[in-house]
């Protein structure tokens, strides 16, 4: 019976390892693709700026046609960069709500990309571009919310592991107490560690609230708010590190103390 359990656990862990490795390889592949689309976007942008300047300087029909051709290529390249970035986010995201938002954004950009080739004038190009420009901050909000949630989940995962470790620590102290040992110092260490852990939890909660409240007022404000969230997550992780340092002191006390 026990051998069957061992085989089952080995299979599960093997499958998990393979899935994780596969997901990692998928992300690296998609990231390379994203970098390529980004390079293509830069080239298209450079050509658009050059032809635009030539058109504004000379105003000839030829320069106008060249500018139109360049701006269309640029708009398609810009959509492709965002689409490629969405696929990257999708690989990292686990939240169904964000997944739905990403699908909406993707459909919107695909539709937009299909409309670009039929643009016939420079004014039309400007109008077609504005459709994406108006949505741009919303894309950024979704993207930053996904990344912030991802970072919070990482620290939460560490928190969960710390909780399990804390339970083990308490159990060890109980055992020592039952053996009639003096555990006053150990209890003090665990109390200090618990205080730090509580502070870490508060910071995580703060980061979650800030992420939920992230709005699209302007790009600068958005960046500022996101940086504040990231800093709060750093703080949460730092408090957890301090809790671990106190637990280490406790562990050293048990290991080399009179126990």
């Amino acid at each position: 019976m026990s051998s069957r359990i061992v085989i089952f656990l080995s299979l599960v862990s093997g499958l998990l390892f393979i899935t994780n490795t596969h997901a990692q390889a998928g992300f690296i592949e998609d990231y390379q693709g994203y970098l390529k689309t980004n390079d293509a976007y830069r080239t298209a942008h450079s050509t658009y700026i050059t032809t635009r300047n030539q058109y504004l300087q000379y105003g000839t029909l030829n320069s106008q046609n060249e500018a139109l051709d360049a701006v269309k290529k640029f708009l398609i390249a810009r959509d492709e960069v965002v689409l490629s970035f969405i696929s990257l986010l999708r690989l990292k995201n686990n939240d169904p709500l964000f997944a739905a938002l990403l699908n909406d954004d993707e459909n919107f950009l695909k539709n937009h990309k299909e409309k670009v080739p039929v643009v016939a004038t420079l004014n039309d190009a400007v109008s077609v571009s504005q459709v994406v420009e108006n949505q741009h901050i919303l894309f950024q909000v979704t993207s930053r919310k996904i990344v912030a949630t991802l970072l919070i989940a990482k620290v939460e995962n560490l928190h969960l592991k710390y909780h399990q470790l804390e339970a083990k620590t308490t159990s060890l102290i109980h055992t020592l107490k039952n053996q009639g040992k003096d555990v006053t110092t150990l209890e003090r260490w665990i109390l200090d560690a618990k205080n730090k852990e509580l502070l870490s939890e508060q910071k995580l909660l703060e980061a979650q609230n800030k992420t939920t409240a992230l709005r699209s007022s302007s790009l600068d404000n958005l960046t500022q708010e996101y940086n504040a969230i990231q800093f709060t997550i750093f703080e949460a992780n730092q408090y957890l590190r301090e809790a671990l340092a106190f637990t280490t002191e406790l562990s050293e006390n048990i290991k080399y103390g009179n126990y």
Partner: protein
């Protein structure tokens, strides 16, 4: 009638005699003397220059006296004794978990630089 001091008279006489003797001494600027004087002048100049350079050259500066460092021998602390409880399986498992979690906490990536939104030109315009 002005009276003259006899000592003053004697002094005047001596002065006149010395002047007379000095004018009679033959000083001839021979080539040997000229060369000797020239060499002497050069030597004095060289000595002056050497003295000046000796003062300013860092190579000739006196070494500063540094306090002597007494070597400190390595301190051999006695190995710490692991407690009886520290040798139990429960404690060793706990210690492993703690070290693993510390490592994870240290290496966790909280930037996700790959997921930074790309910088895009979001203002297409054909107006000057």
């Amino acid at each position: 009638m002005a009276t003259t001091n006899p000592l003053v008279e004697v002094a005047k006489e001596i002065k006149e005699k010395v002047n007379q003797d000095m004018t009679n001494v033959p000083i001839k600027m021979t080539p040997v003397l000229k060369i000797s004087l020239f060499v002497l002048g050069i030597l004095i100049l060289l000595i002056l220059v050497a003295t000046l350079f000796r003062r300013s050259s860092p190579l000739t500066q006196l070494p500063s006296i540094s306090p002597a460092v007494s070597p400190v021998g390595s301190v051999n602390l006695p190995p710490r004794q692991v407690s009886e409880f520290g040798k139990t399986v429960d404690f060793m498992n706990f210690e492993d978990d703690l070290n693993q979690l510390k490592q994870e906490n240290l290496l966790v990536n909280l930037t996700e630089a790959e997921l930074t939104f790309p910088l895009l030109d979001m203002k297409v315009s054909f107006e000057k």
